[in-house]
């Protein structure tokens, strides 16, 4: 498994959803996985077992440098404390990647020029990184409605699964 250099700063939802799918180890091939202090506390409240997953090293870190841009965007996007701290850390670690399933946090990240992806992206990336087989990833995608608390419109999920199947046939044939 080849590690990428990217530093991931994670929001609570993807950590919780990946753990619900027993797939937190899919983050292990990133350079570092940082959980902001506020997010850590949030995950600890809702799904503490995720923080002791042996498949990936999660680094608990408090933001020390605060970006005025993040502060300015906070009321506009009604960002939660965890999302705010994650974005402050993203500004601190240049070229980091924000992991979030929250639309407003992603919009704020776009505004800041920060790359952002969510749980679905990480699951599908496992095919590219060869950390899961294609059938395994498709099985995980299908398990989202029953095994996780991630909300996604059923028709959209079906479309996503069909797109992935079609794409992998073309790319990995």
């Amino acid at each position: 498994m080849e590690k990428t250099r990217a530093v991931v700063i994670a929001d609570a939802e993807p950590i919780i959803h990946l753990d619900e799918l027993n797939s937190l180890d899919l983050l292990a091939d990133f350079g570092k996985v940082i959980i902001p202090e506020t997010v850590w506390n949030e995950v600890e409240r809702h799904r503490p077992q995720a923080l002791s997953c042996s498949g990936v090293k999660l680094i608990r870190q408090r933001a020390v440098h605060f970006s005025a841009q993040v502060d300015a965007l906070t009321p506009f996007y009604t960002l939660h404390a965890g999302e705010q701290e994650a974005l402050h850390l993203c500004c601190e670690f240049k070229n980091s990647l924000l992991l979030t399933d929250d639309t407003a946090a992603r919009l704020a990240a776009k505004n800041l020029g920060v790359a952002a992806h969510g749980t679905l992206g990480v699951l599908v990336r496992a095919i590219r990184q060869q950390t899961r087989s294609i059938p395994e990833v498709l099985k995980l995608l299908r398990a989202i409605p029953t095994q996780t608390t991630l909300h996604i419109r059923a028709a959209l999920l079906a479309e996503v699964i069909s797109d992935v199947e079609k794409n992998v046939k073309e790319v990995y044939k």
Partner: protein, 65 residues
């Protein structure tokens, strides 16, 4: 036209909202709740969420990191 709703809100959040109303930042609690809902809906539009999901799939399959 409006709809009457019944909801459960954490005490601390309710207290903060009440303080804002008392300090005159907003007319009343009804207006505050409606404004909070409007802001949430604006920043979580379905089309944007779906676009992000499609971007995720593309990154997952073809991204570099």
């Amino acid at each position: 036209m409006s709809t009457l709703i019944k909801t459960e809100i954490p005490d601390q959040l309710w207290q903060q909202a009440q303080n804002m109303v008392e300090q005159g930042w907003i007319d009343n609690m009804d207006a505050l709740i409606a404004e909070a809902m409007r802001r949430y809906i604006e920043s979580h539009q379905q089309t944007i969420s779906e676009r992000f999901i499609r971007e995720d799939i593309d990154w997952g399959l073809h991204g570099k990191d």
